[in-house]
Symmetry: C2
Subunit: 239 residues, 2 copies
């Protein structure tokens, strides 16, 4: 369980935000500086839409603080949460880099601040800058791998497996306390579960003494070993 590294200090410089982000981890100082120079600040109040799918992509977003919900809207109104992006995560990267329309919608699940790199300037730079291309290519490859992972999770894990994996992968402080990002219903949806099921699974874990609830939205991990075990396998071994 990752010990959380980044502090939630709100006012960071654009450069700090860009450095903190996974997709850009491969970049050297020069390339980061290039991106920083074209960055634009954006703020969103809770609940405001950031963009809707099928639109042209305004740019590549990096979350500074808050929480952004990226979700896909089906013709019949159903939605599936693709990501919940916290500080240091990017969204709309793919459309911005590939230069096509947005494949998903986004809104602010909590008040959020982002750094945006406008599509046109990014494209311009990519046309000129070999190193940037190369390093982003690697970042992108990791991104694909992440999706394969996600796909696998949803395809061959049951509810218990998905929840424990979420907990296991979530950052926690030194005392093993995890702050759940976002509303439970959004987390549940991201795991392709209903909030009811999510609730029940957490209760089962609590009954088995693996976790404890604190107030608000934080979870205390009691038996990290069992949690790992549960998250490791894909189908029920249960109780």
């Amino acid at each position: 369980m990752n010990i959380q590294s980044r502090s939630q200090k709100s006012p960071r410089t654009d450069e700090e935000v860009i450095r903190s982000c996974g997709l850009f981890r491969g970049l050297d100082d020069t390339q980061r500086a290039v991106l920083t120079s074209m960055a634009v600040r954006k703020r969103f109040k809770q609940g405001t839409p950031i963009f809707v799918q099928e639109e042209a992509c305004p740019g590549l977003f990096v979350v500074d603080h808050g929480l952004v919900r990226v979700f896909r809207l089906a013709p019949n109104g159903q939605q599936h949460v693709l990501h919940l992006c916290g500080p240091g995560q990017t969204f709309a990267e793919v459309a911005a880099i590939g230069g096509f329309a947005l494949p998903a919608c986004a809104d602010a699940a909590q008040p959020a601040g982002c750094v945006m790199i406008p599509t046109d300037r990014l494209q311009q730079e990519l046309a000129l800058n070999h190193q940037l291309c190369r390093q982003l290519l690697t970042g992108m490859a990791f991104w694909v791998r992440h999706f394969v992972q996600l796909l696998e999770d949803i395809a061959l894990r049951d509810a218990m497996g998905r929840v424990t994996r979420l907990l296991y992968d979530s950052p926690c402080d030194a005392s093993g306390r995890i702050q759940l990002p976002g509303a439970k219903k959004d987390l549940a949806n991201h795991l392709n579960l209903t909030s009811e099921t999510f609730s029940r699974v957490l209760r089962r874990l609590a009954e088995q003494g693996v976790i404890e609830f604190d107030q608000d939205r934080s979870v205390h991990v009691i038996d990290a070993q069992q949690l790992e075990q549960l998250s490791g396998q894909s189908q029920n071994t249960d109780q």
Copy 2:
């Protein structure tokens, strides 16, 4: 999810194979020539493993003919078919480009011939060739979008929806005949269904007069319109 792409013309030149492939569609002649020059031919008998996950990636594969099954193996032995790659499709691209270990296994579902671009030579070239990087970056972005699509399919469609979508997206000849690539059990698994369910869904479609079975593995689409309708929505409308 265009599984099968075109005629099974077996003896194509390396250049033709590379040109036929989606990931490289963005490349201009120059870049294609570069890739062609480093290509290596590979053949696999049905059932032979091509590689296993966690190994170092030997290269980027493009299928010339036959069918390759790319699947992820869970610790407990379960497997999930990520792709069935027919002619013109690539696999192991991500690991070859990103330079990390293989995230999945592959074997030949049918006797298959591939063109392989060795990892080291590809990496070498990427380090030098700006245009190649740039064009691959775009190709990669499309690839991610494809996965998002796949994820959505599995997350919010029922069995009927997934099967009809598979049929709807599959290439057919002028008379509306679709040649199913690969064994039904593999197709079913790719859709995250059992072969039993797959079978039943096809029968229901036949009973409703939407499709007809021919011999062997081909399906005749009778009512393309209804097929489109069914594949368009995500959850059951029907009786």
